[in-house]
């Protein structure tokens, strides 16, 4: 059932969610936004009524936390070793389409055999509520170039702002059940549906392309630019700080560390986020580092998203949220790099 909710009732709706779930939603942080677990809907409502720009960290962090336990063990009794997964009933609420698309990509990557049990254990009971992004939320974005500025799946409910109320689309049984249970949603009528179509159409006119050229050719053009001078130029600027990896909603690499209790008996094996831009990422136990130069690492991050993941899954692994661009203090921008390879191809008469 598609439904309508008035602005003034959103608080009530969030309270309804809170009675059944942990709710994770966008809140303000130092003139930016971040997803946080909330118990007070008043922190969220003003934000979704005026739209918010992309959060500092992506919401997928709540399914793939920066640190999580994989194993419990006893250093004296190896037979006591136990694999650990964790999950809880949670709602990720008011996610922009780019972030939903990013979770769709993560689902695909991490469900591939051998699947990531820890991710799936948290993902399965997670309810997702999408939130329409009415137009470019920031300057350095390329979601529109990639068609990731709207989401057609991956959510249970989806909120679209229609001026003084939200149109709530339901996409799954869970979404329907939540909508039907709610005391503040009413069934959408024909006029509401017409409003929604209008808004969806208008949205498309507000976005502009950031990359000038045919995105379908990007993967191919990057491959042709494997030895281009741009990697050395960007490599000289790159600090190997890993910020671009940490903030990216589709980066999933991790390192494994053990922690032992002070009494030298019990141990926990964790995974912690890692990133391909960090110097030790490709270092092996022998000390050999097979992706040593910074330029090679900068190139790898971009090839990972645009060439390797594209080859495996048929679509780009970057949703164009622009977090990596905004968080790079060295001003390394995938938009600039993509425009460079497009420009070069134009110079060669290729496009």
């Amino acid at each position: 059932m598609d439904a309508i909710i008035e602005y003034r009732d959103v608080e009530r709706f969030i309270l309804e969610l809170l009675s059944d779930y942990d709710v994770i939603a966008p809140v303000s942080k130092d003139s930016h936004y971040i997803f946080d677990q909330i118990d007070d809907p008043a922190r969220v409502v003003p934000i979704i009524i005026r739209n918010y720009d992309t959060t500092l960290l992506p919401p997928v962090k709540w399914i793939y936390p920066d640190s999580e336990v994989l194993l419990r063990f006893n250093i004296n009794e190896l037979t006591e070793t136990k694999a650990v997964t964790a999950s809880r009933k949670q709602v990720l609420a008011f996610l922009h389409p780019c972030d939903i698309n990013a979770i769709n990509i993560m689902d695909e990557i991490l469900a591939e055999e051998p699947s990531d049990l820890n991710y799936l254990a948290r993902r399965r009971p997670t309810v997702m509520i999408g939130y329409d992004c009415p137009g470019p939320c920031r300057e350095n974005i390329l979601c529109f170039d990639k068609g990731y500025h709207k989401a057609d799946r991956g959510f249970d409910l989806f909120f679209t702002d229609t001026g003084d109320r939200f149109y709530v689309s339901t996409a799954t049984d869970t979404g329907n059940a939540i909508a039907e249970k709610s005391a503040v949603l009413r069934k959408a009528g024909y006029a509401d549906k017409v409003d929604l179509m209008k808004i969806n159409w208008e949205r498309e006119t507000r976005f502009k392309k950031s990359v000038h050229g045919d995105m379908n050719r990007l993967s191919h053009l990057l491959k042709e630019s494997y030895d281009d001078g741009i990697w050395d130029i960007e490599g000289k600027k790159c600090l190997s700080c890993g910020a671009c990896n940490i903030v990216c909603p589709t980066c999933y690499c991790f390192d494994v560390v053990d922690e032992i209790s002070p009494d030298m008996e019990k141990g926990l094996r964790y995974r912690k986020w890692d990133g391909c831009q960090l110097h030790n990422f490709c270092e092996t136990a022998s000390g050999e580092n097979f992706r040593e130069g910074i330029a090679a690492r900068v190139r790898h991050r971009i090839f990972k998203k645009e060439v390797y993941l594209k080859k495996r899954f048929g679509r780009s692994g970057c949703v164009g949220c622009g977090r990596c661009i905004d968080s790079c203090i060295a001003h390394i921008s995938i938009i600039d790099i993509f425009n460079h390879v497009m420009e070069k191809a134009r110079g060669h008469g290729e496009i």
Partner: protein, 251 residues
């Protein structure tokens, strides 16, 4: 069955020129400390015990070397200890004690002690590695007490303790902090070894590099970035000098 570590390694904790804050961090382990002494024996640790044993195998050395007499003391410790570990920035990098090296003694003695002729028994600040070979380093001003615990545990298990070799930015961004450099301020977090949980930027203060540099810092790029924010090369050098005054940093 509980594993028995046959012998309790004997440990000495020593202090040279410093605020002794790093020793204090060991005591700040509190609960863990009482468990720890089931496995190790402190034979010399001024802030904690009155014994002055000399039969230690592992020496943790805090503080930098700023007096002639400290050189012989440190060499004596090195001779007795199988493993010598630098404890904290003073000992690892010279720390803030190095600041005096940049000014003639005559200029700072009166401003620190009120007169020129007190405490003249002072030499240019040295890191302990400038005097004796150092086996391992626990960095930080002050050290992270959890890192100290992990080092002791690694030594008990006979594995090599490792420090992160990624920069503070990783911990800072993971916490969802807003970057100070993005806000136009200075920060050395992008070239500084992580492990402190990015505590300074988390409290909105710049990282001044107390844990030392990562193995391959891109100083040139960071310098360019900070100059865009209005710092001069000399300013950037001064920021590095807060803790890294004796390191080779080409600016």
């Amino acid at each position: 069955m509980k594993r028995h570590f046959q012998v309790k390694p004997k440990i000495g904790v020593f202090s040279f020129t410093s605020c002794e804050g790093c020793q204090l961090q060991i005591l700040n382990l509190e609960d863990e400390f009482m468990t720890l002494i089931d496995y190790i024996e402190f034979v010399n640790f001024r802030e904690a015990i009155s014994e002055k044993g000399e039969d230690y195998e592992i020496a943790f050395v805090e503080g930098s070397i700023t007096r002639e007499s400290e050189i012989a003391e440190l060499k004596n410790i090195r001779e007795r200890a199988k493993i010598l570990i630098a404890l904290g920035t003073c000992s690892h990098l010279g720390g803030i004690n190095v600041l005096k090296n940049f000014h003639p003694q005559d200029s700072w003695l009166p401003s620190v002690y009120g007169r020129k002729d007190l405490f003249t028994d002072t030499i240019r600040t040295k890191r302990i590695k400038d005097v004796v070979p150092v086996d391992l380093v626990i960095p930080g001003c002050p050290i992270d007490k959890g890192e100290f615990l992990r080092f002791v545990q690694a030594l008990l298990l006979r594995i090599k303790p490792v420090l992160p070799n990624y920069p503070v930015c990783v911990e800072c961004r993971t916490k969802g902090n807003v970057c100070l450099v993005e806000e136009g301020k200075w920060c050395l977090g992008s070239v500084t070894r992580a492990g402190c949980g990015a505590i300074c930027p988390t409290y909105r203060d710049s990282c001044s590099g107390c844990r030392g540099l990562v193995s391959e810092p891109n100083i040139e790029s960071l310098c360019n970035i900070l100059m865009e924010k209005g710092l001069t090369k000399e300013d950037v050098r001064d920021k590095f000098n807060i803790f890294n005054g004796l390191e080779t940093i080409n600016i």
